[in-house]
Every structure is written in structure tokens, then in C-alpha cells.
């Protein structure tokens, strides 16, 4: 889906453009209209004034008292013109020179407004009015060039447009800022969700606008339920393992009392070992947190040293030289308990078989790479093939140290990672390569 921000921005931008365009059209139309109206009313006054300067002599000839007519009508092509028509004769202003203005007779008391092309590309506004004077019917047409006014109007329109566009831009900037500010909580939630995924936080913070609070509440609520369910099933499985192992322990203690020569002892021993291994593996597989959030992620800076200390304590009789090459600031995408199980089993195996040296390399690029190798006897190809078989069936017997590795392989599979067993070229023993995707 389109981003909320761009959607809102586009919507607001369009509505602003429409508003501004409408305003611009309205203002320009009105300015034009008002200017023409104003000129028209002035022309009417001029026509009325002209009428007062007109008289008819005895011969019914039209006479104009030109000394009392405005000078502007005498200058050629001044932009101000008049034409006076009677049915018998037609008098034009000097300013019109030899040019003609098309005009029509208007009956007395009527008035007509029109626009036409005048001399020298002038755009003329004409007012023709019909009068009756001394029993003579006459039509006076007064014209004025609109170009100077139009020029001013254009100037005004340009100014107005520039200002409108400027305002539009300022408003847009304001809008973007306002949008950014009001969408900031969403960005915060986005970042928090990322942190949640990485296990840095367990809950979303409630410091959000009212509109978003129900959503946050709901997410937190669901997270809580998920964590609780996971914890509950983990605990239930742990209790189950515990309660199966207790009778198994007793069986084992009693079995050890049977004479070693008795065949039943061996059978009982292997059978109880099998039950133990199967339960252990099923339970460990079942309690794998996988990709659900159980809370804490494994930390190489905090959990790894404790794990190594644990291993040293468990193999206190061995002097192992550990070579750690761990990249700094590694974010591990795996749940703490899963990772402890994964590394614990592999490292325990390395401790068991190593003569002196174990190397652990951890680096991160687009994936997390872990290499663990030892200088022990290693494993032959047959064994490596057997270990590499994906998803060894539960009822298949996994002998001794292979058992722990099988659990590690289960965890890797669950995280869509990859585990490779091979001979170590560097130390000559066993080598385990782990690749884990970061998401």
C-alpha cells in the first residue's frame, strides 16, 4: 500500500492547487469585469457630456461646440473616440482620423456595450446610447482603448499569480512539516517494532497519541499472551521432562545393582537410555522458541563468557587453549535459551574430543557465521555423512556425542540456518560451520 505520508501529501497538494486555481480565476475574472464596468460607466458619462455640447441649427445640422469637448478627442489615435449618428449625418471625433468604427443605431433610451478592434491594434470598448435632442434622434458611440487597462490587469494578474504560487509553496512546506510531526509517532512505533523483533524490548511504549493507543494496547496485550503461552508450554514441557527423568533415574540406579553378567541389565540400560534420549530430544525440539518472541536474545558479550565458564567447570580436568575470534557488537538473531543449547552442545562436543585447542570464530555480514573446530581425532566421512543427514528420525539411535549435535541441528533447522560438519583443516579435528540468517 502507498505510504500514508505521500497519500496525505498528494491529497493536500491537489486540494490546495484546486483552491488556489479557483481563487485565481475568480479574482482575474472579477478584476477584468470591474475594470470594464468602470470604464463603461465613465464612457456613459462622456456620452452624456457630449450630448450637452451638441446642438442642431436651423437646417437641422448637427453642431458640436468643440471648444468644450475634451482635448483627448482631438489627438489622433489617442484611444478615446466618439461617433455621433443621426439618420441624416455622422460626426466622428478628430482622434479617429480616417478610421471607422462599426456601430449601430440604438433607439432612444437604450444603451449597448460592445468590444471591437480599433486603429493601431487598439482593443476598444464601445458604449452606444440612443438620445433624442431638439426632436432629432441620435446615437452617440464613445470608445476607449482597453489596452492600457488590460496591461495593468495583466501586471496585477502576474503579481497575484506569483504571490499565490509563493503562498502555495509555503503552505506545502508547512503541511509537510505538520505531516511529519503528526506521523512521527508512527515512525516511533515502526522503530519499536524493529527493536521488538530483535528482542531489545519486550513491549511497545504507550507514549503515543490517543488514536494509536488502542492499537498499542492490543499489540502489547497479544505480546503478553504470546510470551505467557510460550513460557507456560516451556514450563509444562520442562516439568514433563523432569517427571519422566525422575523414574528413569531410579530405574538406572536399580539397574546398576543387577549383576553385570545378567543380560537384563544391558537391555534395561539401553532401553532406559533410549527413553531418555527420545524424551529429551522431543522436549528440546518442542520447546524451541523458534521465531516467536520469548523475550531475550543471546548476547555474545554477556552470555557467551558464562557459557565458556560453564564448559570449563564441566571439563575441569582438561586444559584447553581457547582461541576466540569474535567480531565486536554482534547482534545475534537467536533466542538466548536456543543459542545456549546450540552452542553448548557443539562446544561440549569439542571440549570432549579436543586435545589442547579449540577455535571459535564468529562474524557477521548479511548472515551470522560461527565456526567451531578442535584438534581432536575428528570424525570419519561415514560419521560426518550420518550427522549431516537432515532431520535424523527420532527413533533412530543417535550415539553418544552425536546426540547433542542432532539437537543443535534441530535448532539450526528451526531458524532456517545451515550446519555443516567436516574435518578441520586448521586444527585437524572436528569442525562445525553454522550459518544463521539475520531475520
Amino acid at each position: 500500500m502507498q505510504s500514508l505520508q505521500s497519500k496525505l501529501s498528494v491529497g493536500l497538494f491537489l486540494s490546495l492547487v484546486v483552491t488556489f486555481s479557483a481563487l485565481w480565476l475568480l479574482v482575474s475574472f472579477n478584476v477584468q469585469y470591474l475594470a470594464e464596468e468602470y470604464i463603461a460607466s465613465r464612457l456613459k458619462h462622456d456620452a452624456d457630456t457630449l450630448l450637452s455640447r451638441i446642438s442642431f441649427n436651423k437646417n437641422s445640422q448637427l453642431v458640436i461646440d468643440s471648444s468644450r469637448v475634451d482635448l483627448i478627442y482631438s489627438q489622433p489615435f489617442s484611444g478615446h473616440y466618439y461617433v455621433i449618428n443621426t439618420p441624416e449625418q455622422s460626426v466622428t471625433s478628430r482622434s479617429l482620423w480616417d478610421q471607422k468604427i462599426k456601430q449601430q443605431t440604438v433607439i432612444t433610451g437604450q444603451q449597448l456595450k460592445s468590444v471591437q478592434q480599433g486603429p493601431e491594434q487598439q482593443s476598444l470598448l464601445l458604449i452606444s446610447a440612443g438620445y433624442m435632442k431638439q426632436g432629432h434622434q441620435l446615437t452617440i458611440t464613445v470608445a476607449e482603448d482597453l489596452n492600457p487597462v488590460n496591461k495593468n490587469i495583466t501586471k496585477f494578474k502576474t503579481g497575484f499569480s506569483v504571490m499565490a504560487i509563493g503562498l502555495l509553496l509555503i503552505l506545502l512546506i508547512f503541511q509537510i512539516i505538520i505531516l511529519r510531526l503528526s506521523l512521527r509517532p508512527l515512525n516511533k512505533i515502526k522503530n519499536e517494532l524493529k527493536e521488538l523483533q530483535q528482542g531489545k524490548i519486550e513491549k511497545l511504549s504507550l507514549d503515543t497519541p490517543h488514536e494509536l493507543q488502542p492499537l498499542i494496547y492490543e499489540v502489547n496485550h497479544l505480546l503478553g499472551i504470546m510470551q505467557k503461552n510460550l513460557l507456560r508450554s516451556r514450563n509444562a514441557l520442562g516439568d514433563l521432562a523432569h517427571s519422566i527423568k525422575k523414574p528413569l533415574t531410579v530405574i538406572k540406579q536399580i539397574t546398576s545393582k543387577i549383576e553385570t553378567s545378567d543380560v537384563n541389565r544391558a537391555t534395561l540400560d539401553t532401553q532406559s537410555d533410549d527413553i531418555y534420549q527420545i524424551t529429551d530430544r522431543i522436549l528440546k525440539r518442542a520447546r524451541l522458541a523458534g521465531h516467536s518472541h520469548s523475550g531475550t536474545l543471546f548476547s555474545f558479550s554477556e552470555d557467551f563468557p558464562v557459557l565458556l565458564k560453564t564448559l570449563n567447570m564441566m571439563h575441569v580436568n582438561k586444559t584447553i587453549q581457547l582461541n576466540l575470534q569474535i567480531q565486536e557488537n554482534i547482534i545475534c538473531p537467536v533466542d538466548r535459551e536456543d543459542m545456549l543449547e546450540l552452542l553448548g552442545n557443539i562446544l561440549d562436543n569439542a571440549y570432549k574430543w579436543a586435545t589442547y585447542k579449540i577455535t571459535v570464530k564468529v562474524k557477521i555480514n548479511s548472515e551470522l557465521h560461527i565456526v567451531i573446530e578442535d584438534d581432536g581425532p575428528g570424525a570419519d566421512n561415514e560419521k560426518i555423512n550420518e550427522l549431516s543427514k537432515r532431520g535424523v528420525r527420532l527413533d533412530e539411535k543417535v550415539q553418544g556425542h552425536g546426540f547433542g549435535l542432532a539437537i543443535s541441528a534441530d535448532i539450526i533447522t528451526d531458524y532456517n540456518g545451515e550446519i555443516i560438519f567436516k574435518q578441520s583443516a586448521e586444527l585437524g579435528g572436528f569442525r562445525v560451520d553454522i550459518t544463521l540468517p539475520l531475520h
Binding site: 525422575k246 528413569l248 538406572k252 536399580i254 560453564t310 564441566m314 580436568n317 545456549l340
Partner: protein, 221 residues
């Protein structure tokens, strides 16, 4: 050596206690967390075997409380909860060793011996002190002239306690505390009898008597 077994499973305690006793340990049993914590603070134990799933107080809490009150009793955790994160948490709480259930008794005994040696700063393997070598499996002692002597139960317990605490003044009551469990009849005069037995095997100079203080183990030097 006196051992505290904190375990609530009755059947397991039955067999385990017998095995530990025949391996020469004075065993007291606590079947809940509160008793276990109390007994562990009595300072009479040399080692504790602690189950994590104890009723009333979780084993991890018991261990944490001991460590918080500066009680350095060597502890082996014995538990069915043997996922790695639980082991790590166990060691974090202050455990010295961790054994998952089900287990072989031989493994537990070997770990107890190893931990006792470690906590008295003795190297692993057979207990070799002052020209004497104690075989903890066969309960025999080899003297400097390579003679092997069989030991009775109490003799073995007493000698092992001496060997793990050489050159130290050990009072009769302290010795009694460490080789008998709560249920045994304690008579500190019996100690004198066993010390005499040991002197017969190891030579008169091996155990020095300090009047009013107790004994100091010197060995065959």
C-alpha cells in the same frame, strides 16, 4: 567426608544414600529446599549434592542464598533439568559441577571425588599426600614402601579426611562431624581407637596428637 544430599524423590534417595554411604560418605538427606538451605549453612558438610526441583524452595534459590551468605560449600547440582541454559544458570548461581539425570552412580561418585580434591586444592586422580596414596574406589591405602592396606569403612573415612586436610589441627569433634551423619551415634572417644588403627598402618609419626586441640596429620615424611 560428610555429604548433604538435597533430593526429594524418595526412591532415588533410598538407592543413592546407600551408594554414597558405601563409597565412604556420611550422608544427610534434606527433602525440601528450606531444610537443605538450613543444613547447608551448618558448616559441617564437605560437599552438597543438590537437586534443583526441590519442594518449598527451588534448588537454585537455595544455592544463591548460600553463596549470598558467603557459604562456599562445594555443590554438585543433580537435576533432570539439563538444558544448557539451565546449566549456565546453575553455574551462574554458584554451582561447582552439574550432573544431568539420569546418571550413572559411578559418574556421580567420580565427580564428587574430583570436586573434593579440587576444593582442598589436590590434583585429580588418586589422592597422593605425604607419601601415601589413597585408592578411593577400592578404599585401600598404599604406603611409601608400596604396601597396600585394606581399610575398614570408618578407617577409610578418617584417613581420607586427614589426607584432604593435611598439616591442619583437627579437633575430635570436628572429625566426628565430618565422618558421621546425623543419624549415627557419636562417641568422640571412638575416634581415638581409629586413630590408633591408622597409626598401626601408617606408622606412629603419621598422626600427631596435640593435647586439648586434636590431631595433625603428618604422613610418611
Amino acid at each position: 567426608m560428610r555429604l548433604l544430599l538435597a533430593e526429594d524423590d524418595f526412591n532415588l534417595v533410598e538407592t543413592l544414600k546407600k551408594d554414597l554411604q558405601s563409597a565412604g560418605y556420611a550422608v544427610d538427606v534434606a527433602n525440601n529446599g528450606i531444610d537443605a538451605e538450613y543444613l547447608g549453612n551448618e558448616m559441617i558438610y564437605d560437599i552438597a549434592v543438590l537437586d534443583l526441583g526441590l519442594p518449598q524452595r527451588n534448588g537454585i534459590d537455595v544455592l544463591k542464598n548460600w553463596r549470598a551468605s558467603n557459604n562456599h560449600l562445594p555443590v554438585i547440582i543433580l537435576t533432570a533439568r539439563n538444558a544448557w541454559h539451565e546449566r549456565v544458570d546453575g553455574f551462574k548461581a554458584g554451582a561447582d559441577d552439574y550432573l544431568g539425570k539420569p546418571f550413572h552412580i559411578e559418574e556421580l561418585l567420580a565427580r564428587i571425588v574430583a570436586l573434593l580434591h579440587r576444593s582442598s586444592q589436590q590434583p585429580g586422580g588418586a589422592l597422593n599426600v605425604a607419601g601415601l596414596s589413597l585408592d578411593e574406589e577400592k578404599q585401600t591405602v598404599t604406603t611409601a614402601n608400596n604396601e597396600i592396606h585394606k581399610l575398614t569403612g570408618i578407617e577409610y573415612r578418617l584417613l581420607r579426611y586427614f589426607l584432604l586436610n593435611p598439616q591442619r589441627v583437627l579437633s575430635k569433634s570436628k572429625i566426628t562431624e565430618h565422618i558421621y551423619d546425623l543419624d549415627s551415634e557419636k562417641d568422640s572417644n571412638v575416634i581415638e581407637v581409629y586413630v590408633r588403627h591408622l597409626r598401626q598402618i601408617l606408622g606412629k609419626e603419621s598422626i600427631e596428637t596435640r593435647r586439648g586441640q586434636g590431631y595433625v596429620f603428618r604422613g610418611n615424611e
